[in-house]
Amino acid sequence: MRRLINRRPGRTASGSLTIAPFLLVVVAYTLASAVRLAENPNDKLLPAPSAFVDSMQRMALEPDARTGTYIFWNDTAASLERLAIGLTVGTGIGLVGGVAVGLIPYVTTTLRAAISVISVVPPLALLPILFIVFGLGEVGKIVLIVIGITPFLIRDLALRVGEIPFEQLIKAQTLGASTWQIITRVVLPQIMPRLVDAVRLSLGPAWLFLIASEAIAATDGLGYRIFLVRRYLAMDVIIPYVAWITALAYMMDSSLRMLSRKAFPWAVTGEARS
């Protein structure tokens, strides 16, 4: 009998095993829902899967009677816009900060302690301050995402820059490179794959801060909607919304992973492409 650690599933088995947990959740939910609904047809806790279809049809395919917009798509667009701006700004600051802290000793000395302190401030605790300072509009929510992910990005990228072997920096200098040229031709290209990874890791926190700020003060957005309909125990809306948020987050993560593979062939396999 081979040891458990040496036994690997075959190709077909791998596929079925991968799907199994998802299938299990769906089946368990459907059964539990059927049991509860058989007891009380008005049960709101576990609505039947058909209820999801109904409510999503209403929200995604029919214009809202009051505003004339498609609520589901409107919420999606609002949330994605906040997320995109927050991630873009955060990544930009993280990249510039990370390279500066990792490469330039004066900046390292000035900012390292400050950034370690800032990074342990719970961003949600700052949310009231942000709403007071920036008002309840878009800025406060975007700033929350930026504050939430930037310290991590700066620290992570600074570490990655620090991991570039000193030989590379010396070699570049013997080839006549200035600091600027070292940054643009040696450091930035080498940490790009790491940047993509760091952004992937930041997606979770970014969504967290987005939903939290939308829950507290917003008039649209995926987070706003699920906290709004919570008052009516509208699980038929909440569950599809959560599934949709999950799907969006997963798609963002996978596309970043694919981008990384496509754009940085040298980091994955070292194979030539041309």
Binding site: P165, E167, Q168, I170, K171, A172, Q173, T174, L175, G176, A177, S178, W180, Q181, T184, R185, V186, P189, Q190, F264, P265, W266, A267, T269, G270, E271, A272, S274
Partner: protein, 270 residues
Amino acid sequence: MSLISVRNVWKEYGRDIVLERINLEVKHGEFCSIVGASGCGKTTFLRMLLSQETPSRGEILLDGVRMDDEPNPDRGVVFQRYSVFQHLTVQDNVILGLEFAQSAFLGRLFGAARRRAIAQAEEMLEAVGLTRARHAYPASLSGGMQQRLAIAQALIRRPKILLLDEPFGALDPGTRASMHELIRRLWRATQMTIFLVTHDLSEGFQLGTRLLVFDKVRVDPDAPNAYGATVTYDLALEDRSLPPPLRNGHDATAVEHRPNDLRDSIGGGP
């Protein structure tokens, strides 16, 4: 006049003395092999020649002028590892030095300027036998080929001095022999000044026109770092214009077992 004058150079870290009383005159075109036990400061000496470190006392002159206090294109270098840029193809690694020189802001060349740079790189790649691998990324090259690339990359700016820090230390004996052949051929062709740090005494003897042995002359058993190493032997070696012994001949075309390997062959020899 000497190309390099080392005048009473000391290197200390706090109370630990690594090198002491180094005096050296090196003429243009000399090939100096630096050998010594590990921890004897030979790499520290090389780093001072590179301005990666500065002497604690004394000074190093290049062409009669005090050396710049940071690395610059006067001194090219090949390290044992990490000498080439993993994110650039072989060809881009070689033209990088030209791009730095000719394009201050972008650090990149385009159009005709790029084609000229590539033509120049082509010559270098030919000299080190990497022409066929020019579009490959370093990760797909064998260790020997990566070092060839590092040499080509260092030579493109035509440094006055080439510093080699155990460049062949991680290579297998066959590849090492062909690298010796290559470096000797390039040295003869360019007539540049080379410093080679190695812990392999026979390598030091085999390459080079001058052998510098670093060792401690004074040792205090109670305080091993109280005295530094200095140059204890300074031997002139005969100019080895003959090819290496035949026993290395078959190694010159040795193939390393890497999936994407290209034949490590060079066009050298008489």
